[in-house]
């Protein structure tokens, strides 16, 4: 069974993306015939993954609906157009009768009365009540409200990080960590949780950290009810070594 899994993993890896696979921008150039780098063109010619991606991109750009799909495609496009128009319309609601009472002349008079009452109350209170004071002992954190400082990894790295570390947040019982690519659609790379202010980078995450590809990581501190207390965001990149250039 283990040997079988190993064998199927070999075939799966053989047709999956590698570090050498170009991004979608380069594939677009290959499709349009404007790619200048022969290395990219040679790679695409020998990579089943890239060839499949190219075929799908071509299909999206230039494909045509078959005879029996044409009507369905037109219907869907019309739905999208209609939804777009609906979203653009300003929302107008019929004014309820009680709102029609509060038209401008009435509103102006009501506002004047309220202002007079408010002023009267505030003068009275200032004479008779102590002003509340700010208790500086609460929440004495050096961080700006709502922000977590990410300690490492940051910037260019010589080797994949072993841990993700960040400053602890008072009141947090767990932290959510999300890592995204910085390419054109910010694809999710990995996500996890920790109940401490650090996380060990396991083999699954390490396998997704490719040289030269920058990543952003975001930490969200949560309290025991799941309420978000603070967030922090950072970037890092595994540097390309000479051997990989």
């Amino acid at each position: 069974m283990a040997a079988n899994n190993n064998n199927s993993k070999i075939w799966q890896d053989a047709v999956s993306a590698t570090n050498e696979c170009p991004g979608i921008e380069m594939l677009e150039q290959v499709m349009e015939g404007t790619a200048k780098d022969p290395k990219t063109q040679n790679h695409v010619a020998t990579c089943p993954h890239c060839q499949t991606e190219l075929a799908m991109l071509r299909k999206f750009e230039y494909g045509e609906a078959s005879a029996d799909e044409g009507a369905a495609v037109a219907w869907i496009a019309a739905q999208l157009q209609r939804n777009q128009k609906e979203a653009a319309k300003p929302v107008r609601q019929a004014m309820p009768f009680w709102r029609s009472t509060f038209r401008l002349p009435y509103m102006a008079a009501a506002a004047a009365v309220i202002a007079a009452i408010t002023l009267g109350i505030s003068f009275y209170e200032s004479e008779h009540f102590q002003q509340p004071s700010i208790d500086h002992s609460i929440g004495n954190s050096p961080l700006r409200s709502g922000e977590i400082r990410l300690i490492n990894p940051t910037g260019d790295l010589v080797q994949p990080p072993e841990h993700l570390n960040w400053e602890a947040v008072k009141g947090a019982t767990s932290y959510s960590v999300v890592i995204n690519a910085t390419d054109i659609d910010h694809a999710l790379v990995w996500q996890g949780q920790s109940n401490q202010n650090n996380l060990t980078v396991g083999p699954e995450l390490k396998s997704k950290i490719h040289p030269g590809k920058p990543l952003t990581w975001k930490v969200t501190a949560l309290d025991s009810t799941g309420k978000e207390l603070a967030t922090g965001e950072g970037r890092f990149r595994l540097a390309i070594t000479r051997n990989q250039q």
Binding site: I10, A74, I76, D185
Partner: protein
């Protein structure tokens, strides 16, 4: 859906000696051969065709820019420049309208029925609109939109089919050519075997077989979705291509082991 011609409001300063009352088509014809957007001084004429006296105040009109004359990237630039105005929304609506058919066709290929495809397409367009600030112009807008559509629809299909047809998978996986035992590279690392397997896939399989194999094993798409996506109209759809691919790879692996 055919693009509808809409005249964008003029955005150039007024100039003298141009009659704004001149019919639009006549003005456009006069502009043929002019460089795009360059203001043109046209003698005013009344309806009878007689020359009109020059106006005492500047009343020029510059040719209006048509929506279809603006590229996708120009629409995005104008949208960003004129953010929070009603005009900006018109730019972005035109931009997405141009690609509705592409997104619709793509989604129908994934789902197979128009209602689910419409929902999926709506999600993709909403996601693209939300992420528009991240579009850096490193590729065409349509390529960027494809990337969103691709990732979103693959995730949707995977979550909908979290257990792909197990009998087919198990049958094919059990009989995939065995690269690990009795291989010529006794101490070969898995990386080397992977590279050899990649070579076999690239050299032995036809284009459609390669695509079916890749979409099924790398992207974990179920065979019915692959059949729809690739518009395969043979009797067994993607399964037939997968079986054929497996047969060819079997032969290639046997030849490789025999050579050792």
């Amino acid at each position: 859906m055919a693009a509808q011609t809409t005249i964008a409001p003029s955005m150039y300063p007024l100039r003298a000696d141009v009659n704004p009352n001149r019919p639009v088509m006549e003005r456009r014809e006069a502009l043929e051969g002019q460089s795009h957007g360059e203001p043109v001084l046209l003698p005013g004429r009344d309806n009878a065709g007689s020359p009109r006296k020059p106006a005492s105040t500047p009343i020029a009109i510059i040719p209006g820019m048509r929506w279809e004359d603006l590229s996708d990237e120009s629409l995005i630039t104008k949208y960003r420049e004129e953010a929070d105005t009603q005009q900006a929304e018109q730019y972005i609506n035109e931009l997405f309208r141009r690609h509705h058919v592409k997104v619709a066709r793509w989604c129908l290929g994934f789902t197979g029925d128009r209602e689910s495809a419409a929902d999926l397409a709506q999600e993709i367009c909403a996601k693209a609109y939300k992420n528009l600030p991240y579009f850096k112009g490193q590729s065409k807008f349509s390529t960027w939109l494809y990337s969103i559509a691709r990732n979103h629809s693959l995730n949707a299909i995977r979550s909908r089919n979290s257990m792909p047809e197990m009998d087919t998978d198990e049958t094919v996986i059990d009989t995939l050519p065995d690269m690990t035992s009795d291989n010529p590279l006794k101490t070969a690392e898995r990386k080397q075997l992977t590279e050899i397997a990649r070579q076999f896939v690239n050299e032995e399989l036809e284009e459609l077989e390669k695509q079916v194999f890749t979409l099924h094993f790398a992207e974990e798409l179920p065979l019915d979705a692959i059949t729809r996506m690739l518009n395969l109209d043979n009797a067994s759809g993607a399964k037939a291509y997968l079986v054929s691919a497996k047969r060819k790879l079997d032969k290639a692996v046997k030849r490789w082991k025999a050579r050792a």
